[in-house]
Amino acid sequence: MDIDILARGLVAGSLYALVAVSFNILYRPTNVFNFAQGELVMLGAMVFASLATVLGWPWYAALIVTLLGVGLLTLLIDVVAVAPVLARSQHGTGWVITTLAASLIIANGVNRIWGPDPIVVRPPAPLTTDTFSLAGMTVSAYQIFLVLLTIVLVLAIEQVYRTRQGKAVLAVAEDREAALLRGVNPLRLSHWSFFLGGAFAGLTGVLAAPVLYASTGLGPALLLKGFAAAAVGSIGNNRGALIAGYLIGVTEALGASLLSPGYQEAVVFLLVLCVLLIWPHGLFGRPFARTV
């Protein structure tokens, strides 16, 4: 067996974990899954690739514009497609269709503007995608950076929930009505969470671009596996999402190598199915165990 599988799995797993975290950021205050997250990651990759590679902007300028742009678009999704649905009924599920609609609109729009050709994105110096040998694995400096940065980002997002606004988000997640009675305006928190979750999805796209290339096909695969990572890691649990992302990434790489690349998706979702059959709330339990 090829030990490179581990490296490939960890790199893919990092991206799944990041998508899962972006799901969680939006889910916590709203109990909504934004099914446009996959296309937002794709959009982030495309915008960054166009600004940095095609127009030759410095990477940090392209990064800032990408994060703000995708964040604001996600905020718009909340204002137009999610908040009005929840205003009618807090437990309604109309957002499933409205966020899918947003997803399709973004995918079609991006296809019209950019077309199907992938754009090659090089990471900023000194990072490169040139490979070298490390402990028997063929890796690149960028891959190592990506795996480490993912861990840092997940821990950083957890720190957001130590601020007063973050605690209010957790309060809304645990008991929305009780949070209302403490003066929390849930609409404001949900707008902020959509902006942050969108910017995080855009960042995921930027980070994915050098390893996967920026292309319009990125969205659906990252959506499904990112969602799987969120579910396996227990919805709302970011550390769980990190571990589940790696689990799914490594399983996928193993499946591709031991069976055939044609079976890698089947192996991944077989794993997800088994985990969820045994632990319906994911590996890390319910986010908020409530005794009534």
Binding site: R164, K167, A168, L170, A171, E174, D175, E177, A178, A179, L180, L181, R182, G183, V184, N185, F288, A289, R290, T291
Partner: protein, 249 residues
């Protein structure tokens, strides 16, 4: 009954509920209900289970919107305001069952008590110290999740959390529910301490006798209608009303 109007404006109407109808969907719960609370007083709202006491509190705090009538707090109509706006105006509702954030620590729950207020660090510490003075156990257990506290400690946390905000009017829904007699004494002592510090209180309490002891005025709700109101001592003395608010045992 007359009330002297003091320089501190004690006695002026702080909250008035005027002829409101409230329901859930098409099911009416309250019909033509009125109630008023004077600034600086303790008012008791009594009635049997299902009379609509909690529904009335939920309408006042904005969780429910009355289909008819008007609610005025501190000179301003709040009947159509959102809950966070009403909290911002100084009207705080501690719901039945405490409704703490069980996954978060005692300290975090107290911090959420001042959500939306811009306090400097010294003011925050002063408020925290006042809560700790009244309920020392909240200092001992500050790092524990609220869900790990006993029922009595959770009730103290719920009241402490409300105190952090220093509300103008505090509505307490069944603060003694499930507490041992000793803890009930502590909770009632806390309510009286709050009133002496200037907070107006609207109390819904299953221990009616005790509520009427500390209240100056009382309101009796039966089947969604306000059937009587007056000085708490008078309400307490009426055998006829006793039947309306005492649970059938």
């Amino acid at each position: 009954m007359t009330m002297a109007s003091n320089p501190g404006q004690t006695g002026e109407l702080l909250l008035s509920v005027e002829n409101v109808d409230v329901g859930y969907g098409h099911v009416g719960v309250l019909e033509g209900v009125s109630l008023s609370v004077r600034r600086g007083s303790i008012a008791a709202l009594v009635g049997r289970n299902g009379a609509g006491k909690s529904t009335l509190l939920r309408a006042i705090s904005g969780l429910l919107t009355p289909s008819r009538g008007r609610i005025v707090f501190n000179g301003r109509t709040i009947s159509r305001d959102k809950p966070h706006v009403i909290v911002g105006a100084g009207l705080l509702h501690v719901a039945e069952g405490r409704r703490l954030f069980r996954a978060q620590s005692v300290d975090d729950n107290l911090e959420l008590g001042v959500y939306g207020l811009k306090l400097d660090a010294a003011d925050y510490r002063r408020r925290l110290a006042r809560v700790h003075e009244l309920f020392p156990v909240l200092e001992e257990k500050r790092g524990l999740p609220a869900g790990a506290l006993s029922g009595g400690q959770q009730q103290m946390l719920a009241i402490g959390q409300a105190m952090m905000r220093e509300p103008v009017l505090l509505m307490l829904d069944e603060p003694s529910l499930g507490l041992s007699p000793l803890l009930v004494d502590q909770v009632f002592a806390a309510i009286m301490a709050l009133q002496q510090a200037g907070t107006t209180i609207l109390l819904v309490e299953q221990l009616v006798e005790r509520a009427l002891e500390i209240a100056s005025e009382a309101w009796v709700l039966q089947n969604g209608r306000m059937i009587a109101s007056g000085p708490a001592a008078q309400i307490s003395a009426s055998d006829e009303l006793r039947a309306a608010y005492m649970a059938a045992r």
